[in-house]
Symmetry: D2
Subunit: 338 residues, 4 copies
């Protein structure tokens, strides 16, 4: 951490900063320039120190953080790639793992049709939401417990692992009984009570990026899961909010190589929620694989026109099968497979 | 809702759209242009209908929502201003209500000192966080239950209503026993489980705007509280995330006149979290009052240099007292008082 | 265009709107709902009409544009893909066209080395800036006329077409004598004097997206070039400004499929300026090709450590050659070639 | 400037960085931590040095700029407030200077009516655009030279200084003959050719903030004007682009206290373009004055319904007169006058 003193800061002001640093058991080095004094705070734990502690002191111009605020998610702490095992499917290895299915579980028939279609096309994991975070209280809120039972049933019938969302910390245990992967949605990435509960469950978690948070904040949120001893964390880029309005969100594919540099965690991409339109999903799914994503989360609905939620961004089974064919070629072109 | 058909859409495609509209019990009017057919969907409930239902149909170019998705928070539903009564203090009337205090409760002494200072300077409500949503698991997380007890004690001693944050839906009842106002923070604005619980409690709520959400989404979140029968909803603008990096967030003061047009709910402003720096708080507090805010939420700490959380954005008691003097003059200039 | 009247608008107010529409020679259709009257304005030219004309009238609640504001760049006006011919190199066909070279022309030696390297590795076009738009007046501003002469010399020696930036409308003719493609940079996308001059020159233009403009605004800016009769327009996505700070800008690859739907113009991608870091360029270049880009604009410097401008985002010749090998495989995987 | 070396960087890598720093004639101080070495570059001119120069070197993890990139606009260089004299009207003193008038000059009658109205209501300067930067080539582009003549005529008749926009560097001299203030619009803030020409003219300039640029970039753009010896620079905040869509832009009033801290230049506010709606202008104009703005730029049109450009954001003369009355009270409340 670098504390820059104001031009004309007094010796007393500099001394106070130095003493405060030492009170935290850290070392300091002074750079006395012609204009300004700069205080460098040394030590491995400055990432967890608030910059405000020094910024508020008299004579201080600015405080710059050099260490990242996240720790357990960083590649410095764990240089080797993490792989997460979902009943024999490795996320984070050479295989591109495709998770697909409807946004919301609507009925047994709908879910079963979707499961059959995505499995046949080569997806490894079935997605389907029972508890839905909806922006309006007057929208369909998901089938909740009933939806969870349908997921359990279809999972067994088609022998396919499932991923489903959890929105309340107190539902984690109930959902973890059925789900192979807990999904934490974009609006809950900084719901710290939920992160702590999901961390305690030790169940694999897909942590979606908040559509308004930086990669640094995302990895810091992952620290909440890892700090509880849950090593099975998969990140999921799903688009960020920008001024562009021709897509629902702006898919930030640069996040993939950035995360591969800074973190050991696997990262997948959800092109369906990002673009908001089925016609844009194939291009972005292919781009994600080319950029180095470890997997994809894609919405597929047996009949998008009848979907209760997000029909416009869902692929039909036949479009999904066609896309899987194209993805296999791209995966090969980057030395991987589906 | 306006459904625009593609150039060259067939009669069958237009008919399908019309039939789907009618299946929802709504009326339709067709505009057959030279190039394009436009289908207008009529009826008072189209705000709650998903645009996807039509956007996904063959031959459809785009679907435009005209009704707002929120309902109970809208001025159309309730033309008269809402006022929220906090033990005799009216939020939303002629008085500008100032809520002030430390970001986090740290000790009885710190809280008591803050309470004395803000009350003396003319604040009506004491703020203080016991349960803190912190972005890193390695940061100070608040005193939790102990903090709540201190709030209860100081509230009684200084006879001042308090506002404190709630982060877990299952803590609402416990916190509502002590707090006169429940604060829902920016990261929880779309934590729908928490909104529902806070709505059920009927306790006055300050709903902070998510730093990444539009005013429309904010009012739609308020609908969650109102839909549970809780009419005591106060909105709080606290800055949105933009590319500008000289302030922590960008305070969106235009939200005030926009909300006054579209909603009946009172709106207050938090200049401390928005700017992130005590030296910017006075200018933005004054601007908020001039723009028509119904109140302010300001961080005051007896000793900002020692603050465990957000010291840099906290005013000292003497700076706060000075600001209150300036605010009184501005309040008068816009026909109000503090 | 859809004009929604306020609840309770009077008959006179509705009539005024209808008369104003008719005064522009357009037709109208009225939707008289139970709550509200909605006026649909019909006709092919409503995209060029300002919404303000109606929004400002008494009794009007809101005005929604349905037609896009751009015209000549739209696929509706010209359904067939445009290809731009650069001395036999087709941009917009099956070939992925790679333009590469240094950000700024620094010396004959530097430019010649870069030209040799990128040509050997398979690039079709050499990039190099002589006139540089620099954010500070105290930064290196480019070699200007001298740089232009070096470009002419190296172009001849290596027999490779060149692209270079133009920043002043009055330089267009001079630069068009040397450049095979005029580059209009991100900060000039809405410099309408410059667009008009570049349009008049009829020289092929690469129009970079303003880092703060929507795709709709970008295509509307392209209309300025097309309106002057210059059909040789190539769009270039180069990253948009968002809150994310781990990359210099956020590369919006979704722009590629969006443009392919809405416009006939070819689109290329600049991963160097977008990411700002050479280590992120390969992943994003591959992703761009997988997403359907028609070409790439990549910074290559014989010695990035010595670069006067943007060294951090430049590839070395050997890294560029390696990337070209990887891009060939991806191009093939999407049915194209380099 | 702080260069942080990677964990495990070699002694040779550190030495190279040190040598490069010394080659620029600057001093260095090494902080050898347990994990990492940090190199602090000392000297007063590091703000003008590119961070890339070091970021690109082997063994470097990151480079952090501490000095601001702007120089002449900074308060460190000139601690005393600048005031700009417009024919006896001081911008940057105790008086709040109001500039008002139509967005575009349409006819002599319209301009004269506007001039009379704004002068009567107490505005000091008349605004009116002759050269308009319009996003579509099919929109009204301004009266150009004819508009300029009308401005000259009305200026003389009503004896009121005028401000008008310049969009092409080669028009500066012609426009400077008529205009008392040159306006550089938001889309031209980084049109460096235009900035240089306007700087050379020595005529007072209102430099609008680019809607996508940070305050730091804005002040760096002001350096272009100041570097040519033009000291008459007035900054104008006019809204930034964010995700919020209920206003045309988001007015960033925090920019006012931030600029007052970092720069000596006066700053005014344009609430009309920011909000895009006349009904929001009064609240934001009052807030701007309360926040410390030195002036306002407000659109007033004798007949907004007939305006060719931006009618929706224009006040009528009577609404403007009413607002001026309210502003006088606010100005007084902050110790100033209009």
């Amino acid at each position: 951490m670098i504390v820059e003193m104001r031009t004309g800061a007094t010796q007393e002001e500099v001394d106070s900063v130095v003493q405060k640093v030492k009170s935290f058991g850290m070392d300091v080095q002074l750079n006395v320039g012609t204009d300004k004094t700069v205080v460098a705070i040394l030590g491995g734990n400055t990432g967890q120190l608030s910059t405000d502690l020094f910024a508020v002191m008299p004579g201080v111009e600015s405080v710059t953080r050099i260490m990242k605020p996240y720790k357990l998610a960083s590649r410095e702490v764990k240089p080797k790639d993490t792989t997460v095992n979902i009943k024999g499917v490795q996320v984070g290895g050479k295989r591109i793992v495709v998770m697909a299915g409807p946004c919301a579980v609507e009925s047994e028939e709908q879910l079963a049709e979707a499961a059959r279609a995505v499995k046949e096309a080569g997806a490894s994991i079935l997605r389907g939401g029972a508890f839905k975070p909806r922006t309006s209280p007057f929208s369909f809120q998901g089938l909740e417990e009933v939806g969870l039972e349908l997921l359990a049933k279809v999972k067994k019938r088609f022998d396919i692992p499932i991923i489903t969302e959890v929105v309340d910390p107190h539902d984690v245990d109930m959902i973890a009984k059925v789900a192979d992967i807990l999904q934490i949605g974009t609006r809950n990435m900084q719901n710290f009570a939920l992160l702590t509960a999901a961390g305690k469950s030790k169940r694999p978690v897909v942590l979606k990026r908040a559509f308004s948070c930086t990669i640094t904040e995302w990895l810091t949120a992952a620290d909440y899961l890892l700090a509880e001893g849950n090593k099975n964390v998969i990140l999921c880029e799903r688009g960020i909010r920008t001024f562009e309005d021709s897509t629902r969100f702006s898919l930030d594919l640069s996040a993939i190589p950035v995360i591969k540099k800074s973190s050991h965690l696997p990262v997948i991409v959800d092109p369906s929620h990002a673009t908001g339109h089925y016609s844009l999903v194939p291009a972005m799914a292919k781009a994600a694989v080319a950029a180095g994503a470890d997997g994809l989360l894609i919405e597929v609905h047996p009949n998008p026109e009848e979907a209760l939620v997000d029909g416009l961004q869902s692929l039909t089974p036949s479009n999904f099968a066609k896309l899987m064919g194209e993805l296999r070629v791209i995966a090969e072109a980057v030395g991987r497979y589906i």
